[in-house]
């Protein structure tokens, strides 16, 4: 869409404006306007104003919205390669994760999207996800037995919780607060900033840092919009995205520290378990995945060996 001679990139996402990933997107907006001398502008629609993650991805394909930020988990229903990033305990640690995502493997996954009209620009750090529960603490995988854990509507997340012994319950995120409070589910799993911004820490007494998965967020542009950009403009967009990804890492780690502080002050018991026990239990998820997508086994092995 054009406005006063400038091209305007409409960008919709579902996070609140206080979220560290939104701050990363603001960096992208700033960097792109600077580089292009104001000829490329970004109009951001936070809070899911243009629809849920899945719906906005579709709007990118349709061509009415230019760009979005979604979780790699949502993206995997469009571009199967993103399933890989949801495998439990795929990365050894944070450094390993950044090396992979910013290296050749991460870039090749981003490029896979173009075939589906969704070009990946960069990854945003979304930390790692851990369990939180309202009435019963989880110290070992055995404690998960019989607990109803809310997961995203995503087959791998469901398989993982079930493999660890819990009972995966997909539920809309908006219903989750009351569902935990009233005991419809016993707990859920998410990263620290989401645990706090959703206010779930008020009603969940235990946070078990088992860090079972580290699904990143992805900034995307629709190829319908991308193909209309000049070569110079394409370079600006990519550079702005890369710069914003670097800045966002800092926003994220600040937000994790702040969130953990808030949770602790609210009396949430932080449990540091033996992660290897959880990793062992979740091995079957990887086996099942490799059986289903045999051609992706090499990428998984490359990641593990790097």
């Amino acid at each position: 869409k054009k406005e006063d001679g400038a091209k305007v990139l409409y960008l919709g996402h579902s996070l609140p404006q206080s979220h560290p990933v939104h701050k990363g997107i603001l960096e992208f907006q700033k960097a792109l306007e600077n580089k292009s001398g104001g000829t490329l502008k970004v109009k951001i629609f936070p809070d899911g104003q243009l629809g849920s993650e899945r719906e906005v991805l579709e709007l990118l394909q349709i061509g009415s919205v230019a760009a979005t930020k979604v979780s790699a988990a949502t993206l995997s229903n469009f571009v199967p390669e993103y399933h890989i990033l949801g495998i439990p305990y795929l990365f050894r640690d944070k450094n390993h994760r950044f090396e992979i995502l910013e290296g050749a493997i991460g870039k090749s996954i981003l490029e896979k999207g173009s075939k589906f009209w969704l070009r990946g620009l960069c990854y945003y750090d979304a930390g790692s996800r851990s369990f939180y529960t309202s009435s019963k603490p989880i110290r070992t995988p055995d404690d998960l037995r019989g607990l109803k854990i809310r997961v995203m509507n995503n087959q791998m997340a469901i398989n993982m919780v079930n493999a660890m012994g819990g009972s995966a319950t997909p539920l809309a995120y908006g219903e989750l607060y009351t569902a935990i409070q009233q005991g419809v589910v016993d707990g859920a799993e998410n990263n620290p900033p989401s645990f706090v911004t959703s206010n779930h820490y008020e009603i969940s007494k235990y946070y078990t840092l088992d860090q079972h998965s580290a699904v990143p967020d992805v900034l995307l542009i629709g190829t319908k919009f991308w193909d209309k950009l000049s070569d110079k403009e394409k370079i600006w967009v990519q550079q702005a995205a890369d710069e914003s990804a670097q800045a966002q890492k800092k926003f994220w780690s600040d937000s994790v520290d702040e969130s953990m502080r808030i949770a602790k002050e609210a009396g949430v018991e932080i449990i540091i378990p033996d992660k290897s026990l959880f990793a062992k239990k979740s091995k079957s998820v990887l086996e099942e995945f490799v059986n289903k997508y045999p051609d992706m086994e090499t990428i998984v092995n490359q990641i593990k060996n790097e």
Binding site: K1, K43, G51, E58, I62, G63, Y173, G174, E175, T178
Partner: protein, 434 residues
């Protein structure tokens, strides 16, 4: 003129034009949205986006409660449950001045307390009560006015489909459980206010009092109605106690009402297909309106209207009370020509950020917007309850307007109380820690 302004003018002019021509409301919304969006983006992405918003707009588990509460209401209407509630209500209040009018209000409240849709209440209670009231000298237009306004209490008293729609529109900032509990006191207050006005008329016009029911008679009718009333405990109790979500509670209500109606023998197994069909029809009316409203709501976001209106309100009106008042007036005007469901879906995203910025609880605002639009569904030109209520009373819409007016003023007075005294809405949710 900027393209944004032109497309908004196109939107409103075409919407009202189509509405006046008797084009169905859902289509009027859909067509005007399409025209307006096509001024902004290319043709193919534009129409595809509207098709997508119409389908994904109803892709929500929470919305499933709507067909289920409609179905449960239909079963209660046909299965003898409504009749039992009326008899019980009669034994309680028929002996007061204006007795049968009270029965109408109380029965609407009781029916509203077990069903999610006001249309079911208006048609179930209205079709039974109007004739009985006429026998005792009440003009049919007065009965219709009582019936129409009293059935709105069922939109506030849980379960309530419109509160579910609001929870969706609020983007999850207000939970269904909290909204349900918050609706009780405002709903009861509204019912009492209507009863107060009924008493005033009845004493003036000297309408007949019913015979005072003895305690044993009350007990008899209570016993006959108890399994119907138990539905209230199951549905609302089940949600508040965390046994199930609102959607699941609605399907339990269907099961329970069906078993009860079969046990009473007033619904036969062979009636089930026709009950399902008429509920599916009602569902399609409401849900198809949601489809096109979601497209219009998306268009508003895409045009940046919510920010425009909220910054205008916050910058030009400095006083919190004045802003609440202004919002109420705007909503009252919107309510006259727009059905409740699209109005909630389109205007919640616009006004909610404004009022929360001023410190209003999203749950409280939900009750305010719903009560405000309750007035709208009773007014011409577009007033679903007005149409249904006049229809079952077999009187024309224009005849009802005059006797209806004082009832609407009563509702506006209650609206002001609910708007400016948050405790009426928030007391119960806070008590239950929701």
């Amino acid at each position: 003129m900027s393209i944004e302004v032109i497309s908004i003018i196109v939107l409103f002019v075409s919407f009202f034009g189509l509405l006046l021509l008797k084009v169905p409301v859902a289509y009027s919304i859909g067509i005007s949205t399409t025209l307006s969006l096509l001024l902004n983006i290319d043709k193919m992405p534009g129409i595809t986006t509207i098709a997508q918003r119409m389908t994904t707009g109803i892709d929500s588990f929470a919305l499933l409660a709507i067909p289920f509460f409609i179905l449960a209401g239909e079963i209660m209407k046909r299965g003898g449950i409504a009749n039992r509630l009326i008899n019980f209500a009669k034994s309680l209040v028929a002996s007061l001045p204006g007795g049968l009018a009270y029965v109408n209000v109380l029965a609407s409240m009781l029916f509203g307390a077990i069903s999610g849709s006001a249309l079911a209440a208006a048609s179930a209670i209205g079709s039974i009560m109007t004739d009985r009231m006429e026998e005792e000298g009440y003009p049919r237009t007065l009965s219709a006015s009582v019936n129409i306004t009293a059935s709105t209490t069922g939109l506030l008293i849980p379960p309530s489909n419109i509160l579910i729609v609001y929870a969706l529109a609020s983007g999850g900032t207000a939970s269904v459980a909290a909204l349900f509990i918050a609706g009780y006191l405002p709903g009861i207050l509204l019912g009492l206010a209507i009863m107060g006005y009924v008493a005033f008329i009845a004493i003036n016009k000297n309408y007949a009092k019913g015979k005072r029911a003895t305690l044993s008679e009350i007990w008899t009718y209570f016993r006959k109605a108890i399994f119907s009333l138990l539905l209230l405990v199951i549905v609302v109790g089940g949600i508040v106690a965390g046994i199930f979500t609102a959607t699941e509670a609605s399907v339990i209500a269907v099961l329970y009402a069906a078993l009860l109606a079969l046990a009473y023998g007033e619904m036969k197994r062979k009636d089930i297909p026709s009950i399902l069909l008429s509920s599916a029809k009602t569902t399609a009316v409401v849900m198809f309106l949601i489809c096109t409203s979601m497209a219009m709501s998306w268009l508003f976001s895409f045009e940046g209207i919510p920010e425009m209106i909220s910054s205008f309100l916050l910058e030009s009106l400095h006083n919190k009370f004045v802003i609440f008042f202004a919002i109420n007036i705007i909503l009252l005007i919107i309510g006259t020509f727009m059905d409740m469901t699209p109005a909630v879906l389109i205007f919640t995203p616009i006004f909610l950020p404004v009022v929360t910025a001023l410190g209003m609880d999203p749950v409280h605002f939900g009750i305010v917007i719903v009560l405000n639009l309750c007035i709208g569904v009773c007014t011409p030109p577009v007033g679903t309850l007005l149409f249904v209520g006049s229809g079952v009373a077999k009187v024309s819409v224009t005849q009802v307007i005059k006797p209806l007016l004082p009832f609407l003023l009563i509702m506006i007075a209650v609206l002001m109380l609910i708007s400016y005294i948050p405790e009426i809405s928030m007391f119960l949710p806070r008590l239950f820690g929701l």
